[in-house]
């Protein structure tokens, strides 16, 4: 069954390769191709490479988490930030700055904040041994609102100049100076995505309905907990490095589904690749359209993603 998608995966691999090469060769500082590999430009090349890799991991992680969450919640509006992890991470970051922790610890505290909010959402939505989908979504929204309120309060009363930086950071940026941070994020995100893939068939069954999945022998409550944990972990790992980048986790799974169908054994890897390509391209635009200024990446993801999605959706309707 996967054979008919082979061409699509080949195309995605080629696209990814082109995107990576293009994004490394271009940037706000124009350097001719020949000079790029000279000794003096090595630092620029290195930073661009870090950025491209971070973009790839971020795009993949968000797209795959979004696809998995849309399946278990059977809700087209589900996305990774729905579960409150992003706001928890933001609150962690703000607290780190206020208490004057060095910027080295900021991602760690932010990750901790994400984990705390994840556990909080989990216990809030639990009814006995079950997690009903509606209470899951509501708990995520409530925890998000609560964290956002606390962030807004702290920012407004704090004289700390650095907090303004946090606001920018919360809106998402793929600036990356530390390879260790990238490696840690990759170590969290890549294995989590691999485990999500193992549960593709379970996702297929649950995406049809919980009772249907139950009758196919799937332990739905266990699966929901696993998916919730993995997607939260991915989001936490990403948010604490690159902030909150909207749109990707919501729309990319839809775009991919329109293209390859809803079977998660195909959808998850395709989302992973397409998410990486999309994010690399968006980041390239963010760096270059208004150079030397940088456009917030969230602006680009929305401006590029929305038209693409609309065209695809309209085409599909006509195709029917």
């Amino acid at each position: 069954m996967e054979k008919r998608h082979l061409g699509k995966f080949l195309l995605l691999a080629v696209l990814l390769f082109i995107a990576v090469v293009f994004a490394i060769l271009n940037g706000p500082v124009r350097i001719p191709f020949k000079e790029l590999f000279l000794e003096g430009n090595r630092q620029i090349l290195y930073l661009r490479l870090l950025r491209v890799l971070l973009a790839a991991i971020t795009g993949s992680g968000l797209a795959v988490s979004g696809a998995a969450l849309q399946a278990i919640l059977r809700n087209p509006l589900a996305e990774p930030y729905l579960l409150g992890t992003s706001s928890g991470a933001g609150l962690g970051a703000v607290l780190a700055i206020i208490t004057g922790l060095s910027s080295f610890f900021l991602p760690a505290v932010s990750f901790l904040g994400a984990l705390v909010s994840m556990v909080f959402v989990y216990y809030l939505s639990k009814r006995g041994n079950r997690i009903p989908v509606e209470s899951f979504i509501l708990s995520g929204v409530i925890v998000s609102l609560l964290c956002s309120a606390v962030i807004a309060f702290l920012v407004s009363v704090s004289p700390n100049e650095a907090l303004h930086g946090v606001v920018w950071w919360l809106w998402g940026s793929l600036q990356m100076y530390d390879v260790k941070l990238l490696l840690i994020a990759a170590a969290i995100v890549i294995p989590s995505m691999a485990i999500l893939y193992v549960f593709s068939q379970d996702l297929n069954a649950v995406s049809i309905g919980e009772e249907d999945a139950l009758h196919l022998g799937i332990k739905i409550e266990k699966i929901k907990k696993i998916i919730f944990f993995l997607t939260s972990l991915i989001t936490a790992g990403l948010v604490c490095v690159s902030g909150v980048i909207g749109f990707v986790g919501l729309i990319l799974p839809h775009i991919t589904r329109l293209w390859v169908g809803p079977n998660h054994r195909v959808l998850l890897p395709a989302s992973c690749l397409l998410g990486a390509v999309f994010m690399i391209v968006c980041d390239l635009l963010a760096r270059t359209v208004y150079a030397p200024f940088e456009v917030p990446i969230g602006v680009i993801t929305a401006c590029v993603g929305a038209p693409v999605f609309i065209v695809l959706m309209k085409n599909r309707q006509r195709g029917k």
């Binding site: 996967e2 297929n204 995406s207 049809i208 009772e211 009758h215 196919l216």
Partner: protein, 269 residues
């Protein structure tokens, strides 16, 4: 073949959605190869009973055994290899193809990362052919009519290769033509393939026409249990449904059929 005679048996069970039981002190034995209908008024516990028997709900007391084994002791997947469930109306949010939906019936038979073998695909194709939707196999599920969709869901259930099939009002939203089509299919599966069927039906006439045995539920308990002609008498129906009916005999099959009588109009005449 010397199988245990009872494919599924409930021993003195009580249970429901909350602490207040919907099904009370209930016992039932279903023999292998039976076509059992469950009827009763709204709120009498038909669907609840089916959910208890199919492991969706856990009884607060009593035990249910499948081929002599306590279903609570059985693994979820093992249970799904032996039984399948068709619900009233399956809303599918994602545009899976008919073949993809049908192949999901193999999930309890396959490991997590195991792809479908040729044999799995053959089983799925047989089910599609049996339910007469083979020609639709590459269509998307949201392009089908509700009758076709219901047959695809039955096709998925058959792909599980069950010994016992539960159905909860499988014809509820279908027109009379599709109702007969679905029930004829079940009848064929039961009589030719020996599939045991436990079906909740709202329509008394369909129940009378197809079921070998009917249990008539009222208020979470068995009111009557027996052959359609013994259960579906006007006395029984009037006592439980609190409405006047005439019960006649189908001239072709000899089964009872129930005609509602409007008291209002009788009074006006």
């Amino acid at each position: 073949m010397s199988k245990p005679v009872n494919i599924i048996a409930a021993h003195d069970i009580s249970g429901g959605y909350t602490d207040i039981p919907v099904i009370k002190d209930f016992s039932l034995e279903v023999k292998t190869g039976e076509f059992l209908g469950i009827i009763g008024p709204n709120g009498s516990g038909k669907s609840t009973l089916l959910k208890l028997l199919s492991r969706v709900l856990t009884p607060s007391r009593g035990t249910i055994s499948f081929l002599g084994e306590d279903i609570r002791r059985m693994d979820q997947r093992a249970f799904a290899r032996k039984t399948a469930f068709v619900s009233q109306d399956t809303n599918i949010y994602f545009p899976f193809s008919v073949m993809e939906i049908t192949l999901m019936g193999r999930i309890p038979h396959l490991g997590r990362l195991q792809g479908e073998t040729k044999r799995d695909i053959e089983i799925a194709e047989q089910s599609l052919a049996l339910t007469d939707v083979f020609s639709l196999k590459d269509k998307l599920i949201d392009e089908l009519s509700s009758g076709e969709r219901q047959r695809v869901i039955i096709s998925r259930a058959l792909t599980q290769e069950p010994l016992l099939l539960f159905l909860d009002e499988p014809t509820a939203h279908l027109d009379i033509g599709h109702q007969i089509q679905i029930l004829d299919l079940l009848y064929k599966l039961n009589s030719r393939n020996g599939l045991t069927i436990v079906v909740v039906l709202h329509d008394l006439n369909l129940a009378a026409e197809y079921c070998g045995r009917i249990i008539f539920l009222n208020d979470g308990r068995i009111f009557k249990n027996g052959r359609p002609e013994d259960v579906l008498t006007y006395q029984n129906i009037e006592a439980v449904y609190k409405t006047v009916v005439v019960v006649n005999k189908n001239p072709f099959t000899g089964k009872p059929f129930v005609v509602p009588v409007s008291e209002e109009r009788c009074r006006q005449r």
